[in-house]
Amino acid sequence: MDLHPISTPPTPEEVAAVNAVLGVDCAPDEPSGLRDAEARRHLLLPVLHALQARVGWVSPGGLGEACRRLLVPPAEAYGVASFYSLFATSPRPQTVVHVCEDVACALGGAEALCAAAEARLGPAGTPRDGAMWVRSPCLGLCERAPAAMVTKAGETPLTASWGNATVDELVAAARAGAGPERAEAAPAIPGVSLRLLRRVGVVDPGSLGAYRAAGGYEALRRAMEMGPNAVIREVTESKLMGRGGAAFPTGRKWQAVASQPVRPHWLVCNADESEPGTFKDRVLMEGDPFRLVEAMTIAAFAAACERGILYVRGEYPLATARLKHAISQAEAHGFLGADILGRGFSFHLELRQGAGAYICGEETALFASIEGFRGEPRSKPPFPVEVGLFGKPTLINNVETLCNVPDIVLNGGAAFAKVGTAQSTGTRLFCLSGHVSRPGIYEVASGTTLRALIELAGGVANGRALRAILLGGAAGTFVGPDDLDVPLTFEDTRRIGATLGSGVVVLFDDTASLLPHLQRIAGFFRDESCGQCVPCRVGTVRQEELLARISNRRPHGDVSREQALFADLSQCMKDASICGLGQTASSAIESAMKRFPDLWEGA
């Protein structure tokens, strides 16, 4: 391709960053046609990560070098780099401290922490002494609010996140470019027979031997004895439904991919857990990483996928490190790669990191991100089972969904389905945060009531009364104290106009003022909209403005006018947005305004 190069020459450091991913450039004069360019494009995101980590920003010299090597037009590469919030396209300090201000952390003192940070470190986004702090969307540490993360660029770059953050820790992190040493809390869940979490906090997540001693890789062996069709049959019989939010029957999806004649098939694990209030996948990845790797191998075997990608959100440094270790251990011991377990089946698994974009949890946006394009969703149909990653049939599942698979294979689909309700089988993970006595991750049988779940977590913190619960995350719905007896299944929550989403349960006690949280949610969607379609790109802005007017008690005309405006806005976003982000961007707000009409008066 006759690409116009960036004129800034790369520094040795920038060249080193690019070479770290691509290897040393030994054939600069080779042909550079479209096919070469297409084959290299998927390396753009890893190279941008390398530049950001090494140089501290995606600099023109570095991007130019990346574009030259990858045959990516500079304007497109810039479009990709400027899409992600963890990449900077203008110079910034080597050390950046991210302070979570999302819903759960906001209920856990984030505003006070941010105010203290401002006093000690200056205003957010202002460089000072080689560091700066910024506000961040959900870091997935909601059970330990408020949460923080530090990134430090350089020859040995670092990303670390931690919970229960204090301002002293923020200041120390800004100075040292490192987070505090903090033992992570294993989820302590009383009284339930654990499936998904049984090894978490019990078995050493860094040891393949320990994993095998605890029953690991028995399921893969069993799956290979059963054969792909039998595996799919058991998964279908288990009635397992997707745990990422859409609740699609897993067995049907696997069957659909397995039967596609087009090759290769891809397997993608969606570990871009970014829904505010969600941290269940992180716990699984940090606490039992081999289980996910084994589950992916089984899925690949069943659906005839030769290659797989595990796409982990960029804000999960510990999960990333443990999964990388697990993958390399599995490769070294013949559980991944060519001829797995000597049975002639090959599966190559690669981990890719997101870079700060909620939208990339949407499956088609996730594909675009892996492929080296902006994380923009596309219209469905065609669905990923037919046209997915790199345009090929793709099986994409969420972490929790996959982690159910080994037990289904070992014990049979019927045994799995014995737990839960007739329609919603198995156990489910719920992420409890906000004003709850014991925030954390809870595994309960599907169909457990909301009341029982909250009681399991010790009820509302400090014995206060409950005002509202955000179910399902920012894209979910608010319910009230009257709704506590709803069984936590897909169908029962839908019956009351709510959603389970990704298992988020954020409690608001009677001291909580909801409007600021609604504004926060509106602001979140405005920030995270990819900007492609008009209803979402502009609609999320107008929604936030409208809430600001209500909150400031300065509506345009009388409140009924604003109500009509909001009704139109939310209908258009729901009806006409390309993807789930826009379609659900008003749902939590709409449910709250409906349930608590006094919010319209700025209450």
């Binding site: 391709m1 006759d2 690409l3 042909p31 046609g33 479209l34």
Partner: protein, 537 residues
């Protein structure tokens, strides 16, 4: 071009010279076609190639011979097509036999593996397009070059089918139309032979005047005739030979020594400046109504959108008035009347009524009748059983190196071409505020610059056997050592065609713009600046 499997661009920088044609190539590539580019330079076209064959300037025939031999030896010829449609294959087969891949590599500089890759991909493709431009035709042996490419199409049957063809890309908007209309020394409109009495009789009858029965001179022959002083009066319409011809210094002398030189042009060109009489013509494409024919034989309507400035007149009006003064009154024909006259005389245009040209956004000839849709591709007859018309002949073509030979004194090969934003002698394109415009440069290989101590932006003197010019040097990593590149877009700045050789193809009359032997010398610093420089050194 969009529905094909292999596209070969040979001596064509279409990305820059035919940008919208290249859009169709790009669509083809995106639909899965493989692109092969044969060019001594790493052009922007070559940047899109799956394989780029960088041959030495003037070794196209050698390369084609090696490709042909490989196709034959690999058993990839289309035997049914060869039998049905061609003649002379056995002799051709024997003729190419010495041209092994190794010999091809040694002569052309293209690695044997790439030659083999081209041969196999082209021959194995279900559909393949072979296109060329001035890299093939601006040589002293242009016709031989073209023939050697056509042979490849014949060997493989990539002729006369959808998605398969051999295509010259026309450099000017009506160079095809000029030929169609008989602006050739040996043809009447519709490519009818001027020496054919039957054809001529139809013209004589309609025009009421006899058409001269002998073919005339082509451009190169005209200059030769001027040299012999046989051609004494010259009427130049819309050409600028004082700038566009090779060895321009010599040409100017010939033009100024005519008894009379008449120039009809819309600009005061360098040629017009030499004229005894200048007729201010108009911009035919926008100040008059008429037709042009594009590279794909599509006759298209030009329409008047502007009134010509000042005393400028419609070219037809000028010709008609001149004719009147010379004693023959043609009246004042409208474009449509002229077109209908053509349709009477040229069978291949017969079905193209003015109304159909309007309605159909152009029609591809031949289009003999009003119910004929036009012809998308030619030579389908070669596939007919039995074959329609005469067989396509193989011709035994031998290589012949460029006339201007490289020696120690002139060690660098200068080739010329067009840039994206400029056009030919720059008369039209020098007018707009073009952000891409750069000063004329000589593009040199990094290795040559290092050897000659020339840095980017240095002023150098370029000397050929005919002249020397001073120009700014630009280092182009896309050039191999020993190769240099210039355009002739801005003769006021750098008169490139003073350097080029007036070696022409005997049949086509095309000049060897593509191969000049030069030497390049860095201008010696002199005066105070150099003293200062010396003092520091």
């Amino acid at each position: 071009m969009e529905e094909t499997d292999v596209i070969v661009l040979w001596g064509s920088n279409a990305r820059d010279a035919h940008p919208i044609f290249f859009h169709h190539v790009l669509k083809g590539i995106r639909n899965g076609a493989k692109l092969f580019v044969i060019d001594p330079r790493r052009t922007s076209t070559a940047d899109w190639a799956d394989s780029h064959l960088r041959l030495r300037v003037g070794t196209d025939i050698e390369l084609a011979l090696a490709v042909a031999r490989e196709i034959i030896h690999a058993g990839l010829t289309h035997d049914a097509f060869l039998a049905n449609a061609t003649e002379g294959y056995e002799a051709f087969k024997a003729h190419v036999e010495p041209w092994t891949l190794e010999r091809g590599e040694a002569t052309t500089g293209v690695p044997a593996a790439l030659i083999r890759g081209l041969a196999h991909a082209y021959a194995r493709a279900d559909r393949a397009q072979l296109c060329w431009t001035l890299g093939i035709t601006e040589h002293h042996n242009a016709v031989d070059n073209v023939l050697s490419l056509i042979h490849l199409g014949l060997l493989t049957g990539h002729v006369g089918r959808p998605g398969s063809g051999i295509n010259p890309l026309r450099g000017q908007n009506n160079v095809q139309g000029g030929g169609d209309m008989g602006a050739l020394p040996h043809k009447l409109p519709g490519f009818q032979d001027v020496e054919d009495d039957v054809v001529r009789a139809r013209y004589d009858a309609l025009w009421g005047r006899p058409v001269p029965p002998k073919k005339g001179w082509h451009l190169t022959e005209m200059f030769e005739a001027m040299r012999r002083n046989e051609l004494r009066a010259l009427y130049v319409i819309g050409e600028n030979p004082a700038q566009s011809e090779a060895d321009a210094g010599h040409i100017k002398g010939l033009l100024t020594s005519r008894d009379i030189l008449i120039v009809q042009d819309m600009f005061m060109t360098r040629t017009a400046e030499l004229a005894d009489v200048v007729f201010p013509g108009s911009a035919a494409w926008v100040e008059t109504d008429g037709t042009v024919t594009n590279s794909e034989r599509r006759v298209q309507r030009c329409r008047k959108a502007l009134d010509p400035p000042g005393e400028a007149r419609d070219d037809v009006w000028i010709l008609a008035e001149l004719s009147k003064r010379l004693g023959h009154d043609m009246g004042n024909p409208t474009p449509e009347q002229l077109w209908d006259e053509l349709r009477l005389l040229s069978p291949m245009h017969g079905g193209m009524s003015w109304a159909r040209l309007e309605a159909m956004d152009g029609i591809q000839w031949p289009c003999p009748t009003e119910d004929h849709p036009g012809t998308r591709f030619l030579h389908e007859r070669l596939w007919a059983q039995p074959r329609g018309g005469r067989a396509a002949p193989f011709t035994l073509v031998d290589p012949d190196p460029p006339v201007d030979q490289l020696t120690d004194e002139y060690p660098i090969r200068l080739t010329t071409g067009r840039r994206l934003d400029e056009y030919n002698t720059g008369v039209q394109t020098s007018q707009y505020k073009n952000p891409l415009r750069k000063r004329e440069t000589i593009d040199l290989a990094p290795a040559d610059c290092a050897r000659l101590g020339i840095e980017e932006g240095a002023t150098v003197t370029v000397t050929s056997r005919r002249a020397a010019v001073r120009v700014t040097a630009r280092i182009d990593p896309g050039l191999h050592a020993g190769l240099a590149f210039m355009t002739y877009h801005d003769a006021d700045d750098v008169d490139t065609n003073l350097l080029t050789i007036e070696a022409t193809d005997p049949k086509a009359g095309t000049a060897e713009f593509k191969a000049t032997a030069i030497r390049v010398e860095r201008d010696r610093p002199h005066g105070p600046a150099s003293d200062l420089h010396a003092a520091h050194a």
